[in-house]
Structure formats: structure tokens, C-alpha cells
Symmetry: C2
Subunit: 339 residues, 2 copies
Amino acid sequence: MSTLRRSIMLASRPKGAPSPENFSLEEDVMPEPGEGEVLTRTLWLSLDPYMRGRMSDAASYATPIAVGAAMMGETVGEVVASRDPRFAPGQIVVGAWGWQSHIVTPGDKLVVVPPGAPSCAYLGVLGMPGTTAYVGMKDIGKPKAGETVVISAASGAVGSVAGQLAKRAGARVVGIAGNSDKSLFVQDTLGFDDCIDHRDVMDLSGALKDACPNGIDVYFENVGGDLQQAVFPLMNDFGRIIMCGMVAEYNDTKPRPGPNLMAVVRKRLHIQGFIVSDKPEHFAEWRALAAPWIAEGSLRYREHVVDGLENAPGAFIDLLRGHNFGKLVIRVAEPTKGA
Amino acid sequence: MSTLRRSIMLASRPKGAPSPENFSLEEDVMPEPGEGEVLTRTLWLSLDPYMRGRMSDAASYATPIAVGAAMMGETVGEVVASRDPRFAPGQIVVGAWGWQSHIVTPGDKLVVVPPGAPSCAYLGVLGMPGTTAYVGMKDIGKPKAGETVVISAASGAVGSVAGQLAKRAGARVVGIAGNSDKSLFVQDTLGFDDCIDHRDVMDLSGALKDACPNGIDVYFENVGGDLQQAVFPLMNDFGRIIMCGMVAEYNDTKPRPGPNLMAVVRKRLHIQGFIVSDKPEHFAEWRALAAPWIAEGSLRYREHVVDGLENAPGAFIDLLRGHNFGKLVIRVAEPTKGA
């Protein structure tokens, strides 16, 4: 066992887009678990757009990461040492947080990964992003058969699940994705009815109008920016906008103006934000629902794997540019035996 | 009985603020009710901000008034002639629509005003504006004890009821009104905890912050414009914005930008528009609830009465400038015997 722990720290707060200088790779002494704690060796690290918010000290729903502290992110890890009787070395667990090779976590926060799906899926389709898509559709979007549902970042970890849920509800589903490969994947593999490659169209509003001849009943907002401006005028009466994220604006140093809200009155729109962690019970609910779909192959997903903890900063910078294709995960280490 | 009917017609569509030239007073032959119809003589005409939308041909939830047609507005009238067996001359009814001295209406659309409150109240506190306040608070705002609720246009027909409902729910209620008389009325008569005279403060955001030291949980939006911009950053996590109207922007010829919506995600805001007429069952529900409160004096309201149908255009123009003080009604005629 190595005697040093590697960690990616927040070296400084980014102004605008993060750059490599905002991160530093550091080594320190391997930590030891205290009473009730567990030491894990990280196998997989999840990288998600929301982490950009944690790098800022602007007001947010979560405490910012301190400069000089390790970056935060959910991991799948292998138990190395345990002082919680419920865990033993070799077990694969989720719930340890950090861009780190090894993490000490109270046993209460950890869950053993059940068999049936690759452990990595618990960071994506069966984890936070999948649950986010589920909650957004179930509590806010509520798509009905025959309605038109638009999904931004459609090939991404959240959008890919959100769109498939809308298809299951019988809706016509139109994705927005960032290149032609993603767009094909969204249609051919995920089974959306249509997908717009927003980097390929001159007139996004026009393309969206063509793809949604009956207007838009539900919009799953992951992106913001020009796309939000294009979607807003096409919303139908009683439309729902699931406010999940606005990744296109995360690097903005000054907030852009939003849409005029008079349409919200006229069209009786329902616009609602949510954070998946507000209701932790949704995680188990979603896993119970989705695991059989994964097993039978009826819920599709795609992972974008980058090897090596040291490559996490670069992969994260690319994620904010939309350069990933599927759920972005860092393969930090191999399990001792297949996991 | 007079032999001519007087009507205020839409002479032309306003660009920006309506002016007297957009209206014309015309006389025509007194209409006669057909089978199943009722002729009423208008006693009271309701003037409300939403009518500005009907004067435009921009997309709306309702068909615009045709140029050359009578302006629309709800009335209280006295039955003059009836070919519906349920109605007889002398009865006081609501449900006839038009800026007109006499109106023919299918009997199905009319309701006899019950005794107990002045008939005029059925255009205000017990009618559309009161029901609007009720639905907005019940279905969207859902104020809880101890929460902070901000009401724009607080002395108006909708705002005055909305704030009193929030007080009944145990919330701290802060009004925004357009002059010092209104502001005093909102506090002293309606019983709000505080009221800001928005024309009297240099720094609306600062004044609002001072009045809402714990932030804002519920905002009843009647106004839009600068006030909306000031409210938005003060919204608390899980806040609700009841999108009822944006009267400050109704005369705009180009929509203003709205607030950036990333706060909707971060704070899990719920922003929802509604139109009271979408669920007609709410009208009776509200009347049943509120009539005893009116009778016992625990629900307060104020009417702004202007005499004469010919003065409706001027009164309406002033309404959009906020020059009314309370629910604006036109006294078109006196009842044959007290009503």
C-alpha cells in the first residue's frame, strides 16, 4: 500500500473559466481512520458541472470549497481499512467525497455498491445525475403522452436520463446536443424523436421551432444562455421549465439578463428550481426503479472515462466547454479484484 | 327608458400608453334580448389592468378586442327585460360584459347578486380581483406562519386581499404602494406589518432589504419592472413568486429583460403564472369563504369610484399609471331602487 495520499486542491478561485492554475496536485501522509470511520482507496471520481459553483465564493446553496482545500466530488472506492464494523477491506462503496486517491469517511455516509451494475454507474445513471433527471421529471416536468419535451445537454449524464423518462411517459422528445456524434447518439441510442446540434445551426430559434411544431410543453434546463432565450418564446400554455442548471453561464463573471417574465403570466408557466440532495430519499427510490431497466437494457447511458486523478482538472475544464460525451468519470485506480 | 345605448369602443390600438384617442363613445339603437337572453342596464363597470392586454393584438391568453368593437369589462347591471325565465326586471346581476350602458347577455352567463354585500363588491373583493388573490395565495404562495410575504400594488384590488390572506396565515406581510396615503392605508386599515412607498424611496432595493430582514419567502407579483428586479435577489431558498401581472410594463412597446434565472436553481424558487378564469369553480369557493369576513368586517377593502361611462377611458389611463386608490369601478347609473 502506498504511504502517500494524492489530492487535487483548489489553488485559487477562477475568474471566468477555470484554468489549470486554479488546481494543484499535492501529496500528504496517508490518513488513518478514527473510531467509526473508513479509509477508502478511490476507484472512480465523478466530475459534474455543479462543482464550478463550489469553486466560487458567491452565494450558493452549498458552502464553497476553501482555497487550499481538496476539491469535492463523489467517488466509488474500495475499503482499505475500517473502524466501522459494517465495512471490511475489499468492499466497494459510494459516499466518500474528494478529488483524492484515498479518503477517510464516517461509516454512516457510506453505502456498499450492490451487485448488478458496474460500480461506476452509481456516480451516473444510478447516482446523482440519474436521480436529478428522475426528480425533475417526476416533481416538475410531469410529461404527458403527446406533449413535446425539450432536453438540453441531451447526451449528458442528466439529460440522457431525463429524455428517456419523457419517452417512457409517451411524450415527443427533442434533444439539444453539442455536436453531430452526440446528436446521432441521442436519436439512435437513447431513442429521442429528434435532436438539434446547436453548434451546427445558424438559427437556433428556427431549428427549435421546426423540431417542435406544436410548441414546447416541458423544458429540462441544463444549459441556459442562448438556448434558454430560444426556448422561452416557444413554451406552450401551462408549460413547465425544470430549472436544473445553466452550464453555459457558469463561467460568466456577470449574470446575463433573463427572459421577460410576462409570458409566465400569460402562458401560466411553472418554472421551478431544485437540488436533488434536498430530498435524499429520492436516491434509493430512483435506484430501485432504474436498476431493473439497466439490467434489461431499456435505460441506456454512456460514460466518458478519463484515466488518472492528475487529469481531473483538465477533464473538468473540458466538461464546462461541453467537450465530454456522456457522464464524465475519472478512473483513479483499478480495484484489487474486478469491481 | 332611454332608446339609445351608449358604448365605449376601441377606436385604435394604443402604441405604448393608451390615450383618449384610442377610445370613442358611440350611441346605437337599444338592443333587444333574443330567446334565452337578458337585457341589463349597467350600474357598475369594473376597470382592471389586464384590459390593456386585450387592447393589443399581441399574443395573449385571450382574443384581443377588435378595433371598432366595444371595450370589454365585467359589470353589475339591473335586469331591464328578460327572455330567460330565471330573470325578471329589477334584479341585480353580474356577468354581463362591456363598457356599455346596456348589454344583452345569455341568461346562462348571469348570476343574481346575493344580498349581504354591496353589489359593487362582486366586481372587486368578492369578484375577479379577490378570487385572483385567493387562488394565487392558495395554489402558489402558500404562506406559512413566520414567513415574509411581499405584496406589490398592495392597496389595489388584488394586492389588498392577497396581503390580508397572508396575514391570516400568520406571515409577516410587507406591501409596496405608490404614495404615502396608500402606504398608510395598507398598514393602518389593511393591517400589513409594513409598507414601502416606492415613489418615496431613493433606493428601492435597500428599503426592501430593510423591511425584509429575513429575506422574502413569497412575492405576489402585480407590477414587474424595477420592483421585480429589486425583489428577485432577496428571495429566500424555496421561495414562491406568484406571477399575477406586471402592470408597470403593460405600456412597454418592447419587452424589458428579466432577471437571470440561475437563482431559480440555486434557491429552488417556484415561479408560477396563473389566470383566475382557468378554474371557474374558484369564484364560488372564494365568495363562500370571504362573504362572512366582509360581513364581520375582518376583510377590508377600498373602492375608487368614478362617475359616468364617458369617464371610463380617462380612469383606465390613470389606472395604468397607478393613480387609482383601491378597486377602480365606474358608476354608470343608479339602480331603480337601492342596490
